[in-house]
Symmetry: D2
Subunit: 147 residues, 4 copies
């Protein structure tokens, strides 16, 4: 799937979230990897100007979901099985960039690794010093996941 396909798919499957999957949100989308960019809003900050944990976890989940959707097409049926995240440094924005790498794509499970770092507007982040790293596992069939 291209970013345009991905956006069209989301616009149908999940209209309320369409904007999050707009083509210009993705710096990169290719087999096995995507780079997703998000401009931090006021509601994402904790006191002290730190980007909140839930925003960081949401980024890990969005990057994984988009990458699996691009690979599988029907990932709308995929569900998160587990997620673990380590917060390493203080994320400050103004943009957050999430690099998602496909680590395993099996029959039942897919595992992605996500690195998240702050960036200036439309500039590259320093991914050697990520602010959070996450491992996300998706179950690839809704039926099998919830028995």
């Amino acid at each position: 799937m291209t970013t345009t396909d991905l956006h069209r798919y989301m616009a149908e499957a999940w209209p309320a979230k369409e904007a999050f999957y707009a083509p210009d949100r993705f710096d990169v989308l290719r087999p096995g990897f995507c780079r997703y960019r998000y401009t931090v809003g006021n509601e994402d900050f904790r006191p002290g100007g730190t980007v909140s944990g839930p925003t960081m976890m949401w980024l890990a989940d969005v990057g994984t979901y988009a990458l699996l959707l691009a690979h599988l097409g029907d990932a709308a049926l995929a569900v998160t099985t587990s997620l673990s995240i380590d917060f390493l440094r203080r994320p400050v924005g103004p943009q957050m960039v999430a690099d998602t790498e496909l680590v395993k794509l099996g029959r039942n499970l897919a595992v992605c690794r996500v690195k998240i770092a702050s960036a200036s507007v439309d500039e590259a982040p320093n991914m050697d010093k990520p602010e959070a790293v996450s491992s996300v596992t998706y179950s690839l069939s809704l039926l099998s996941a919830h028995t």
Copy 2:
């Protein structure tokens, strides 16, 4: 801290999030434990009527943050160090209840265990069949966490 103290604290420290810490959000708040209740909104659902992973992770984080704040007072300075969550069953709402238990309160780190389950409005959830279980670690000093 009582739920009233907690709410007043948040209203000052983090006005934008005040409503999430209103006293009536807490069924229980006592040393070592809190039960937090949230009415799921449209934006929390994934296609198919499943409460989204980010909403579940947010609940784990909010429950932990509130419990630590109630214990320590200055937990506004605490930051999440790591979080892991297992999604076990399909969460459907209409309310989600998060039970947070303090597992360890050390000098540098605090660890909480959170169970999350769906509930009917103002009724008790079945916590023997949680839909997600999470372990959340907070670092208790902003200075030491981000060096």
Copy 3:
């Protein structure tokens, strides 16, 4: 399965590990729960008299494996999919007790929660102050796990 069945099964399937599954290793084995007891050996200690992390992780894995085997019989085919563990306090022995609870038994995945605490010989541990807590996920079919 009773502890005797479990032991007999292991003696056939995995003779080298038979001793670890001897009936007297289990204080409790019942549907959904087991309590496993282990006497710490010299090789399990780190400098300073702390029981090593690998020994603690091994206990989490053994407790889960035994509980799933007792439930499913053919769990010799089950493989660990993921494990996360938080080390909370210093484990010192002389015995370590692992309480394993079945959190979910699905068609593809099983999730167990393990609490581990030190105990005096043949005495009950204080499980309100565990030294480690772990979440272990097993995939229930070897074929599907490694595609």
Copy 4:
């Protein structure tokens, strides 16, 4: 520290484990990274010829411990705070190689990322298809970790 320094240190601090830290165990040891090689023994296998989960977790822990020791010298006082591991593919040996990368070295916490893959004797593994990936957090002061 060089591999020789590391070995000498371990021989004094923890003689029973000395052999695991012999210089020839390390293909690489440099700032921020080490590659550790282990020849799988009979006791490491599960039925079916799969390297056991505890052996894989032990490798993640050993790689992290060695790398922190080489960086800090006094890491004998460091303790594991948490570990999470995803098992992705079936590990078969005959050697297992663990690549450990230092993700964060803070004042209180250090976080390493470990990839583990099978290899033929003295040959390079295919780290694009690791059999397990792990995130390991160490607390850098024994006193602060166990309060």
